[in-house]
């Protein structure tokens, strides 16, 4: 399935804004993602392996935090994951 990589993290995916990663659930896809692009790991996950709280993950249009099975939600190849980090640029930027 496709994962949309936000601008601040693209330097860790060789500049790619979309990457294609296989997996049966959201968490499986993320595991594969961090195997393929290891530098992403510390930006997305805490040392304990939990998704960092200032990073949001959407499965299609839904925030995975509000899906019944959260990260264990099953995914199809046609689904899309989008990673949305906190950004604060505004007035001075």
């Amino acid at each position: 399935m496709n994962i949309n990589i936000p601008t601040p993290l693209r330097s860790y995916t060789g500049g790619r804004e979309t990457v294609s990663i296989p997996g049966a659930t959201v968490s499986a896809v993320f595991r594969e993602l961090t195997v393929k692009y290891p530098e992403l790991k510390q930006h997305l996950f805490t040392p304990e392996g939990k998704l960092r709280s200032f990073v949001n993950v959407y499965l299609n249009d839904d925030d995975i935090r509000y899906l019944e099975s959260k990260e264990e939600t099953a995914v199809k190849d046609s689904d899309e994951l989008t990673i949305i980090p906190s950004i604060a640029g505004g007035s001075h930027l």
């Binding site: 200032f54 949001n56 925030d63 949305i84 604060a88 640029g89 007035s91 001075h92």
Partner: protein, 406 residues
């Protein structure tokens, strides 16, 4: 949907105002009553920079009666790449004064209230309380959480917009039924983990796009028309010119807007965001990625001034200067030092293996990235690494004014 303005007696419009706003008046969705609601409305623009500039201008054009401006800063030439409310003639002026000139020039009926201050926990409630809608155009996490919390506590809608390089986000937080910023991001990123925009740059037009989206949302809230972005996050990708909407849910456990709030007054947002409080009165924003201050040693790395470095180089001391900026910055200006970008230091430290015990002075643009690089080198076993405080900007200021600053 409930409008942001209460239905009290609405101000009359003069013949001149009717002529001015005719294109609004002939829209059924606005009409006389809508235009009067705009005139009665008070909107606070937090920040008069990239986002605040187009936002305030369009609100003024639309006939919003009172616009409050919060900004402590002065106009700098580098602002003019995107902050279209300022001009070459106002460089050096206080931003609130500069903004007022263009706003009043566009619409003399406007009442401009200037708050030439930094928004803090001590003053936010007092400043925000008299406005109907708050438009958040700030550039740092502390203020975003501050504005969010104050809006929820005061029950004021918050037309939120933020940008980074080529992407933007917009939403409306702070309404009773909708989510707030903390529902989306319960915690800020630790300082330094998300690259700072000052280091990343921004396409000048992007805040123009997002700022006008914020103005649009503000006007919809005032008039009570359309579907404001309550419960939705609009993602703007300027390079792909794509707009996506994601669903935002109100978090029932949200500490500020949930069913059992634990945050019932404003907190210390520096602490919340993990920022050391500034040691002098100065812009809060700099604290996050500032060049380290005048201390001789910071986090185990000796700090060296540009004057000291110049002395060493003139005395032909065996000093190795390392530049850790990006290649495109090197093209703008450089000191002739070899370049290893900060992001590559870990992999490429081996290239400097013969200098493990030599004196190395690391520099970047202003001293923040070079500090990180110096620490990385120290970790990799280099024993004599210093950080050039102020970076190449300080060199241009103090040693070689012929160098361009960027």
């Amino acid at each position: 949907m409930p409008a942001a303005i209460e239905e009290t007696v609405l101000p009359k419009l003069s013949n001149d105002e009717i002529a001015r706003y005719s294109r609004h008046l002939i829209l059924p969705e606005v009409g006389m009553e809508g235009q009067q609601k705009l005139k009665a409305a008070k909107v606070l623009c937090v920040g008069t920079g990239g986002l605040g500039a187009p936002l305030a201008l369009y609100l003024a054009a639309a006939g919003v009666g009172t616009i409050g401006l919060v900004d402590f800063d002065t106009v700098d030439a580098s602002n003019l790449q995107r902050q279209i409310i300022h001009s070459t003639a106002t460089v050096g002026k206080l931003k609130v004064d500069s903004a007022e000139i263009m706003l009043k020039g566009l619409n003399p009926y406007l009442n401009v209230v200037k708050h030439n201050t930094m928004l803090t926990s001590a003053n936010a409630m007092e400043i925000l309380k008299d406005y109907d809608v708050i438009a958040d155009g700030t550039d740092n996490f502390q203020t975003r959480y501050l504005v969010n919390d104050a809006c929820v506590l005061l029950n004021k809608p918050n037309a939120y917009g933020s940008i980074f390089r080529f992407e933007g986000q917009a939403s409306v937080f702070g309404t009773k039924e909708g989510p707030c910023y903390r529902c989306l991001y319960p915690e800020p990123p630790p300082p330094g983990l998300v690259p700072s925009c000052a280091e990343g740059g921004v396409l000048g037009i992007l805040p123009g796009l997002v700022g006008v989206i914020q103005a649009t949302e503000t006007i919809k809230l005032i008039l009570g028309i359309g579907d404001p972005l309550i419960g939705r996050l609009l993602l703007v990708d300027a390079l792909g010119m794509s707009f996506r909407t994601l669903k935002l849910r109100k978090n029932p456990d949200c500490p500020v807007c949930g069913t059992h709030p634990t945050v019932t007054e404003l907190i210390d947002y520096d602490q919340f965001c993990g920022i050391a409080p500034p040691t002098e009165t100065g812009p809060l924003e700099i604290a996050r990625d500032k060049a380290v201050g005048d201390l001789p040693v910071v986090d185990g790395i000796p700090q060296i001034s540009v004057q000291e470095l110049k002395k060493k180089l003139d005395a032909k001391e065996d000093v190795f200067v390392l530049d850790v900026r990006e290649p495109h910055e090197y093209q703008i200006v450089n000191l002739g030092a070899p370049l290893i970008p900060l992001g590559e230091i870990a992999q490429r430290a081996s290239e400097l293996a013969d200098k493990k015990h030599s004196e190395i002075v690391v520099h970047c643009k202003s001293g923040a990235r070079s500090q990180k690089a110096a620490m990385a080198l120290k970790q990799a076993g280099f024993t004599n690494v210093s950080n050039l405080t102020g970076g190449i900007l300080a060199w241009a200021d103090n040693i070689d004014p012929a160098l361009p600053k960027y």
